[in-house]
């Protein structure tokens, strides 16, 4: 059983780190919110689309953290090690909803792995001076959640 749990955990780590990584980015799904914060958030996804870490470094604020049900405020170094390589395992990324209020934003997306599996998550961004201070990923249906049956 321990081995089984470990297996789930490893899969989950890989999948959670894929949050926002895609080869294509859908057009804007929400209204006129084209300020610097939305640009940075969309650049975050574009960075993964193009596998361009230098873009990512430009839009992440000092002290950036990434959180998910299985990542507790990991820093930039851990994020690059654990998450960045997963860009190559994501086929497509469609933004379903993007809403921004000041320095807070939510993005809900449908992601598709290279083998056609869905992962649907909501990410909560905190912004500072036009850069991303933190990203907290909440798991919806799909392969991120072990028992969703998808």
């Amino acid at each position: 059983m321990t081995k089984f749990f470990t297996g789930i955990l490893l899969v989950s780590v890989l999948l959670s780190c894929k949050a926002g990584f895609g080869q294509t980015v859908a057009p804007p799904a929400a209204g006129p919110q084209n300020g610097p914060n939305e640009k940075a958030i969309r650049a975050y996804y574009t960075a993964y689309e193009k596998k361009d870490w230098s873009v990512m470094e430009q839009i992440l604020a000092d002290g950036f953290t990434f959180t998910s049900p299985i990542d507790d405020h990991i820093d930039l170094k851990a994020y690059k090690e654990r998450c960045w390589p997963n860009a190559y395992k994501t086929k497509r990324f469609d933004v379903d909803r993007l809403v921004i209020n000041g320095n807070d934003a939510f993005v809900t997306y449908n992601g598709w792995t290279t083998d056609g599996k869905l992962f649907r998550n909501t990410e909560y961004f905190k912004m500072k001076d036009g850069k991303i201070m933190s990203n907290e990923c909440f798991f919806g249906s799909g392969v991120n959640f072990p028992n969703s049956g998808k």
Binding site: M1, P69, V99, N101, Y124, F139, S141, F145, N147
Partner: protein, 151 residues
């Protein structure tokens, strides 16, 4: 293994269905109290808090669906059957963040069960003509996620 999965699934249903059920609601509730859409969302939490199914039926649109990682667009009858009996098992809900835009309302809330277990969810509502059309629960850390059961 099948039995194990089923066990997790059942726990998942129970927990997912508890989303938003509370005996107390604290935190950033001003938006929920001072805007038309916010009042509808507040009524959602209040209905769970007070176990008021009549109030719930007043704020849900025709065709309402409830989703979570383990609930795929279930309808109102299934919500009442699966979820409603869990009302009262969440002791507190602390609203951390609310953003509204168009028909969308996002809420992040921390909760503690009556047994003292932690959960943190992101609730995504869509509103149509003053009623809740869809509810979708996204799981953060805590008991909703199988490998975080120790939290």
């Amino acid at each position: 293994m099948t039995k194990f999965f089923t066990g997790i699934l059942l726990v998942g249903f129970a927990l997912a269905s508890q989303a938003g059920f509370a005996q107390t609601i604290t935190g950033q509730t001003a938006l929920l109290e001072n805007t038309p859409k916010g009042k509808i969302i507040k009524a959602w939490y209040t209905a769970w808090e007070k176990n008021d199914w009549n109030l719930m039926t007043q704020i849900l649109a025709s065709g309402f669906t409830f989703s979570s990682p383990v609930d795929d667009h279930i309808k109102i009858n299934a919500v009442k059957e699966k979820c409603w009996p869990n009302a009262g098992k969440i002791k507190t809900v602390d609203v951390q963040q609310v953003i509204m835009n168009g028909d969308a309302v996002f809420v992040i809330a921390n909760g503690y069960t009556t047994a003292g277990k932690f959960l943190r969810n992101c609730d995504y509502f869509t509103i149509k003509d003053g009623e809740i059309m869809t509810y979708e629960c996204f799981f953060g850390p805590g008991i909703n996620y199988p490998n975080n059961s120790a939290k």
